[in-house]
């Protein structure tokens, strides 16, 4: 009895402390959210309170002035295509890497794994893209994102595919299927949860990134939302209400994705990081 009471007290203490700590996380985010509805004079105190009047017009102003419609579509195109490309190429490669247990496939696995560690060589990547003749294009950015995420995706897929019994493929092979059939008819349906995890992880990292567009998208009409926001932040440095509205808008897509796909993020972290 006294032991369980002691445990209960300890839990209350921990809970109270964690709630206090969580305020440190919530408050800056609320300052941004409430500030995005204020007037530009009202927001300048940067303290936490509700706006006197909720100015939804900030959002329409930002959308118009910041060219966010175009940036949203660019971001969706870049993020969508690079995620899909990455899912197809990485899962197919991982399937073969895991199933062929040869020295060569182990070497290739390490070759991909190095990509998790090594930093990207931005300047020479520009050179390569220039040689190929499409520097500054959205296509180049899509291919670069697909390549940057290959290492992480192969790592996640390999861990998962290893847990699928090889006997399933062997039965199919006996029935006369080829590699292609086995991969698309048997393995692909089984790895749908990992596809979701990879899609979400790639989507979040690509959507939020400013580095690649900064170096590779030379024409501002191709910019993604965060880079447009950065540009807007430089131009409208006095109107913090508009800047905050801009930040909220660029965060919305990942926020919505997170709310609907939480379980895939957690299962992905468990499968890839903890068991892998």
């Amino acid at each position: 009895m006294s032991f369980s009471r002691k445990m209960a007290w300890r839990n209350y203490l921990v809970e109270g402390f964690l709630i206090l700590a969580s305020l440190l996380i919530i408050l800056p985010l609320l300052i941004m959210l409430f500030g995005s509805f204020m007037t530009s004079a009202e927001v300048l105190k940067f303290s936490l309170r509700l706006p006197e009047k909720w100015n939804f017009s900030n959002y329409t102003t930002v959308f118009r002035e910041g060219g966010l419609g175009r940036a949203f579509l660019n971001g969706m195109l870049i993020t969508g295509v690079s995620s899909v490309l990455n899912i197809f190429t990485s899962s197919a490669a991982s399937f073969i890497l895991v199933r062929r247990e040869t020295k060569w496939s182990n070497f290739l696995y390490m070759f991909f794994f190095m990509g998790l560690i090594a930093p990207m060589s931005t300047i020479t990547t520009i050179r390569v893209v220039q040689w190929m003749g499409f520097y500054g294009s959205i296509t180049s950015v899509i291919l670069i994102y697909a390549s940057l995420n290959t290492a992480f995706s192969v790592f996640l897929y390999s861990g998962f595919i290893r847990s699928i019994p090889k006997a399933l493929d062997e039965v199919a092979f006996l029935e006369g299927a080829n590699t292609f059939d086995v991969f698309f008819r048997i393995v692909t349906p089984l790895i749908v949860p990992v596809n979701a995890t990879v899609a979400i992880m790639v989507f979040m990292s690509v959507w939020n990134d400013i580095t690649i567009p900064l170096y590779f998208l030379t024409d501002s009409s191709d910019w993604t939302m965060p880079l447009s926001v950065y540009n807007f932040y430089g131009k409208y440095s006095r109107d913090w209400n508009l800047i905050f509205a801009d930040l909220v808008l660029t965060s919305l897509p990942v926020l919505i994705l997170y709310i609907f796909c939480q379980k895939y993020i957690v299962s992905g972290l468990t499968a890839g990081a903890v068991k892998g």
Binding site: N11, V14, L18, S22, I25, L29, I31, M32, F46, T89, A92, A93, F95, I96, R100, L108, F111, F112, L116, I117, A118, P119, S121, T122, I123, T124, T125, R127, V128, L143, I144, A146, T150, V154, D169, F173, T179, F180, F183, N208, I210, T211, L214, Y215, P226, V229, W240, I243, L247, T250, S251, V254, L255, Q262, I265, L269, T270, A273, V274, K275
Partner: protein
């Protein structure tokens, strides 16, 4: 063996291998070559200049400062994100009423763009900003600082913002790790008379090693590659006080001194590999074999 080779044909690897090799590996290899040249945007001819770029990196004060800052940032964020991440995970793994909500709150900043968080913190970190006003309001005005304009402090401030944003991600990995530890170990330890600190040290930490391993790697590599936080919060300033390797590369790119920029990148590559690979091997060995 032969059967398996024939059945699992290599062509399914090719798309991934091509994209990855052309846009990631090839630039790295080319970079190795260009590091030893005086490659400039405005010059046609490229001359091989041996170790000159690297000598310059180790004698130029700004470049040295950038490497020092990158190291400070990496160490501070590795410690901060992992110690706080474990603490949060252990707390939120207990039977608390609000644990699901609290987990979501702590995780939430890490799904947002570094750009968003950095801009939100900019006005709060000013001399007349929210953080200093809070210190004054609670009667601790001596704690208020010029967070982003004091050269001695600025890299620590940037590291703080990064810890604030990403600790929740580390927490999530630690939570997943904690949940894979069977409760029976703790029950047995309690029966043997072990206190909670003893259980934590002898059960939690060893069984959490895979998660610790992956988190140390992620935070260390991420820390050495830092760019966006510095770019948005300070642009490398005041002066050059918060330059890191990532911002130096952007600067060399902008100035057209591409040879020097690739040399800095090669050095970063070498540093990450030299630190990360032995750490990876060491940590793998320490993990409890299942």
């Amino acid at each position: 063996m032969n059967v398996s080779k024939r059945l699992y044909s290599y062509y399914l690897i090719w798309p991934a291998l091509l994209i990855y090799s052309i846009f990631f590996v090839l630039p790295a290899l080319i970079g190795l070559f260009y590091s030893f040249t005086d490659w400039r945007l405005d010059r046609e001819a490229i001359k091989f200049i041996g170790w000159d770029n690297f000598e310059r990196i180790f004698t130029d004060r700004t470049l040295l400062l950038a490497m020092k800052n990158t190291t400070i940032f990496a160490i501070v964020t590795v410690l901060g994100k992992n110690l706080l991440g474990i603490a949060l995970a252990v707390g939120l793994n207990m039977k608390l009423k609000s644990k699901n909500l609290l987990r979501a709150i702590f995780y939430s900043p890490s799904i947002l763009s570094v750009l968003v968080i950095s801009i939100v913190f900019t006005p709060m970190l000013r001399s007349d900003g929210t953080i200093n006003r809070i210190f004054e309001a609670v009667g601790l005005p001596s704690l208020s600082q010029a967070w982003l304009t004091n050269p001695a402090l600025v890299i620590w401030t940037v590291a703080f913002v990064s810890i604030w944003q990403h600790t929740g991600f580390q927490m999530a990995i630690y939570l997943a790790g904690l949940q894979s530890i069977s409760k029976e170990y703790y029950e047995a330890a309690t029966i043997d008379g072990a206190g909670s600190w003893r259980s934590f040290r002898s059960i939690t930490i060893p069984l959490l090693l895979p998660a610790i391993n992956i988190n140390l790697m992620l935070t260390l590599i991420g820390g050495l590659k830092v760019f966006s936080e510095v770019f948005v919060l300070t642009g490398g300033g005041p002066g050059n006080a918060s330059q890191v390797v990532g911002t130096i590369i952007l600067r060399s790119f902008g100035e057209g001194s591409w040879g020097l920029g690739t040399a800095v990148n090669t050095l970063l590559f070498a540093a990450v590999t030299i630190i990360a690979i032995p750490l990876l091997i060491f940590m793998r060995r320490k993990e409890v074999s299942e």
